[in-house]
Point group: C2
Chain length 215, copies 2
């Protein structure tokens, strides 16, 4: 008998997946959580063999919950369930050390297959997740190439403050008053920023920092 803890904030989805899992004779959902906090607590209390965690949940999301669960023995197998194929989510999950990641677009066969595979000690990622991982890998190669050509720029704390005020439409004098420095100092910072980012006026500066999301 495989004891499963299921966490998902949407009741309909949770109960659906539960019915789904229990169509397998040897699966039993012994607990249900509607947020990450509950999941952590129920895991400690019920000590399930497997925890299925939805990623986007209130209180504590699936990733945070997984991180905590993995710190206390006995460690259950953990499979993340997600609505999204966002590479950020997938990458973060990889880093936390969960045992599987299944997209909600997967079908029953894949879900059951994934659960069984994870229980044998292997990792499992559903088909669509694997596809994202592959395309990510390819992108990361391209990105690496790009990073070589474009030397990285570092913006200091003070410059950051200045940029933020420039973005609010403040003039040098206003910024100077705000920061209790000379407007000439502000001009110097502004000029340094423009040089660093290779732009020729404040609007381009704003566009650039936004583009490189340094804000």
């Amino acid at each position: 008998m495989l004891k499963i803890l299921l966490a998902d904030d949407h009741h309909l989805v949770r109960d659906g997946i539960k019915m789904f899992l229990e169509s397998e004779a040897d699966f039993k959902v012994i607990g249900e959580a509607k947020n990450g906090l509950e999941a952590v607590e129920l895991n400690a209390e019920l000590k399930p063999h497997l925890v299925l965690l939805d990623i986007s949940m209130p209180e504590k999301n699936g990733i945070e919950a997984a991180t905590e669960i993995l710190q206390h023995k006995p460690i259950p197998k953990i499979i993340m369930l997600s609505m999204y194929l966002d590479e950020k989510y997938i990458n973060t999950c990889m880093e936390t050390g969960v045992h599987g990641y299944i997209h909600k677009g997967a079908d029953k066969k894949e879900l059951i297959e994934g659960v069984r595979k994870v229980m044998t000690g292997q990792n499992f990622y559903s088909k669509e997740v694997r596809e994202v991982m592959v395309s990510n890998y390819i992108n990361s190669l391209k990105q690496k190439k790009k990073n070589l050509t474009q030397q990285k720029v570092t913006i200091t704390k003070r410059e950051m403050e200045i940029v933020k005020l420039i973005m609010k439409g403040y003039s040098s004098v206003q910024i100077a008053e705000d920061l209790f420095i000379s407007n000439r100092t502000v001009d110097t910072h502004r000029a340094n920023l423009m040089q660093k980012l290779d732009v020729k006026n404040s609007i381009e500066l704003i566009n650039k920092v936004t583009e490189l999301n340094l804000v």
Copy 2:
């Protein structure tokens, strides 16, 4: 026997809800669609009594699908299913004339209750949806007040062109060259814009048009 068409792009969710519905003796899911296009086609083909449509789907979203389905007789009852309690979604759904809106955070009881209520010809919105509708109503009253104080501004085509170039960091001279007009004309447009939008420099101008999304 109530014939139901179910549309949701996530297999696990779809099959879950299906099992869920069919736990009622007189409910029968006669078709499943994994996007809006399929939903429209299957509706025409199967002529179900009720269509459950997830809002966010590829190809054609739930709202677009609902709009089409409502144009061809026989018109089934339609209930939107949504992950989100976004007021925009809810409002748009209201406008399309669907018969119900159920949040996926609802439970089995509410789903079944909603289906039965809709089938009697009434509308149904799940508890959390009703809450959003109430708070929206209150907000709309506040908004109305705000709109009275802030008279609406209209930006002309030419001004729009100018703003877009300003946003790219172009100077008046560059803009003038781009549009084959005098830089003084550009200055006039810029000044008119700043006056209209009650700002005192180009950066604030950009922030304002972005905020009021006039771009």
